[in-house]
């Protein structure tokens, strides 16, 4: 028998305390779910960004358009880096894609045309274009269909002129991100270079680091290697990491995450605040017991710790149920979404970017969530606990 045991008995026998626990559980569950979804979103954004941009991107510098160093010069300078697992030269250019024969030249505003980022890589066979799954569906395109890419090239006069080229549709690709699948098309770098008459034939080199290599470390090694080879330009953005590439977007998502956490923690805070009322009521109902404990030798500190433990117990049970409920919610989001919306999807890929709602449970976030809830409960339990400890024993027992 201990005071903890008595607190447990109180918690079990008072439905109000159970209601407080439930309120905390709901708050924690919602916050857990929001955290997991936003974390999952960030993790997926990171993964797709890294897949698209590699760990580090090396750009040529403007002077090279006049007196260019070749791609081989850059690759020769970078190859000695042991931390790089893969080099991937690319040429990125903008273009319009439409079905062949859709009069793309005659009317660039034709609805048959879709503006895309054309990515020229060395992995795509000549004459082939690969569309993202989403854009392929939109264009009702099948493998083997003929597509036309329209872009522009800068002639010797310096004026841009329209250029176009036919491609055969290859298998579609999917990155997991709806927006990337919609606005990107992969072609051969050689084809794209021919279409645009690009002076360099490349616009970036993606470096993928070996496992465990930090992008920042890899970027500084690459920059050093370029400096040594005399291939650095006067501007600072020649070597960037995937974080730089997604900088503003990632920061926006992280800021959104912070705002959501604050807002939903207010829900937990309100639920925990209810503890003050519940414990005050319990103190009022249990005056006689408090007096008896005092008469039997309970010190004021022990009375305080008893009621604070009671608050902690209520919040602890609430947190535990909240985490379990949140875990269930995150694993059944589509079902919950269906309940909430009557069958219509709430998280559409057009808005949310992903076809599936990514989930990532971060143990540290969960730990901090539970810790913050318990700390709040402790703070809110103090006032009723302190009032209980100040009850004069005689008045408590005999209500004099």
């Amino acid at each position: 028998m201990s005071l903890l045991h008595l607190a447990w008995k109180y918690a079990r026998s008072r439905s109000l305390l159970a209601m407080s626990s439930l309120a905390i559980a709901l708050g924690v569950a919602v916050l857990f779910t929001v955290q997991s979804v936003v974390n999952g979103y960030l993790v997926e954004v990171e993964r797709t960004l890294r897949e698209h941009t590699g760990d580090v991107v090396v750009h040529p510098f403007p002077k090279q358009f006049e007196n260019p160093a070749t791609l081989d010069d850059f690759l020769d300078a970078l190859r000695p880096l042991n931390s790089v697992a893969q080099f991937e030269p690319r040429l990125n250019w903008f273009g319009l894609i439409g079905r062949s024969g859709s009069a793309t030249h005659a009317d660039p505003r034709s609805p048959d045309l879709t503006g895309m980022l054309l990515i020229g890589t060395d992995d795509i066979p000549l004459g082939t274009i690969r569309l993202g799954e989403a854009s392929s569906k939109r264009l009702a395109c099948k493998v083997g269909d003929r597509l036309e890419a329209v872009s522009f090239r800068t002639g010797s006069s310096g004026k841009p002129t329209i250029s176009s080229r036919d491609f055969q549709a290859g298998p579609t690709f999917t990155t997991g991100r709806w927006d990337m699948d919609m606005d990107r098309a992969l072609v051969s770098r050689e084809d794209l270079s021919g279409l645009t008459q690009h002076s360099l034939g490349w616009s970036e080199i993606l470096l993928r680091g070996k496992p465990g290599v930090e992008p920042d470390e890899l970027a500084s090694q690459a920059l050093e290697a370029l400096k040594t080879a005399g291939l650095t330009g006067p501007f600072s953005g020649q070597v960037t990491t995937w974080r730089d590439a997604g900088g503003n977007f990632l920061r926006a998502v992280e800021s959104q995450k912070g705002i959501l956490q604050t807002v939903f923690f207010l829900v937990v805070l309100v639920a925990a605040y209810q503890l003050i009322a519940t414990l005050t009521l319990t103190v009022s109902e249990k005056r006689r017991d408090i007096g008896v404990l005092g008469a039997l030798g309970a010190t004021p500190n022990r009375i305080v710790s008893f009621f604070m433990f009671l608050g902690l117990l209520v919040a602890g049970l609430g947190s535990l149920f909240g985490i379990l409920l949140g875990y269930w919610l995150t694993n059944n989001l589509r079902t919950v979404e269906s309940w909430l919306s009557g069958g219509e999807p709430l998280f559409t890929a057009e808005v949310y970017k992903f076809e599936e709602i990514p989930i990532s449970v971060e143990p540290l976030s969960v730990f901090m969530l539970v810790g913050a809830t318990l700390l709040t409960a402790l703070l809110f339990s103090f006032l009723p606990a302190w009032r209980a400890a100040r009850l004069p024993v005689i008045r408590a027992i005999w209500r004099r």
Partner: protein, 238 residues
């Protein structure tokens, strides 16, 4: 004023010039005035007086639940004046057992748990290392009061007599040097009251505890070695 004085080196309780008054509206009511008493371990005293004569007030003062306006109290030779609430609570836990007329058991707890509570309060965190020892002691006292088959019963599942026996066990589990009983049989029928009183006095004797019984019952008073009467705020030997 009557003075009760017994020669002993360490009385279970001793008080001198104890006064307590209450403000009732604009008037000050002197409930106790110049009380002096002393009880040695093993002594049993009854405290009689009309309703409102101050019996309970005196028990509260002696039990360190209330503060006198003046005078001093010593528990087991230890002065109580100027002590903090925490120190007074520790003195209560260590030296004083209470038996209330209304039993005052905690309704959520079983008989065994109710008896264990004072030990838990007295020993603090060290209780965890001594819990087997404490439980053994509680079982022993509950057996002495004849409730070894009611250990897991809650107060609501016990009769009045059984509840008071649990209260007696709770009061004596810590082997206090002083037992204060406020009308311990007041809520029981005559035969049950008699049984409970027998138990209380037997166990107090076994534990060498001094007992102060507040009662209206002349028969109970006659069973005590000392008999005091509170009248007009003063204590008289009968």
């Amino acid at each position: 004023m009557s003075e009760v004085s017994l020669q002993s080196a360490a009385p279970a309780i001793e008080c001198q010039e104890l006064c307590r008054s209450f403000a009732i509206g604009p008037t000050e009511l002197d409930v106790l005035c110049g009380i002096e008493l002393q009880l040695q371990p093993g002594q049993v005293a009854s405290l009689q007086g009309a309703s409102g004569s101050g019996k309970s007030t005196l028990l509260h003062l002696l039990g360190l639940l209330d503060f006198p306006d003046s005078g001093s109290i010593k528990i087991a030779g230890k002065p109580t004046q100027g002590r903090s609430q925490r120190q007074l609570a520790c003195l209560r836990a260590e030296h004083i057992g209470f038996v209330f007329q209304q039993f005052q058991l905690l309704p959520e707890l079983s008989a065994l748990e109710n008896v264990l509570i004072p030990r838990r309060l007295a020993t603090g965190l060290s209780w965890f290392s001594r819990r087997n020892e404490e439980k053994k002691r509680a079982l022993e006292v509950l057996e002495q009061v004849g409730l070894s088959d009611r250990l897991k019963h809650r107060p609501s599942q016990l009769s009045g007599g059984e509840q008071q026996r649990v209260a007696v066990a709770r009061a004596l589990v810590s082997r206090p040097s002083l037992l204060l009983a406020d009308e311990p049989t007041g809520n029981l029928d005559a035969s049950t009251g008699e049984e409970v009183l027998d138990l209380l006095l037997d166990l107090a004797e076994q534990n060498n505890a001094a007992v102060l019984l507040a009662t209206h019952n002349e028969a109970i008073a006659q069973r005590c070695t000392l008999s005091w009467l509170l009248q007009e705020g003063r204590l008289q030997v009968q």
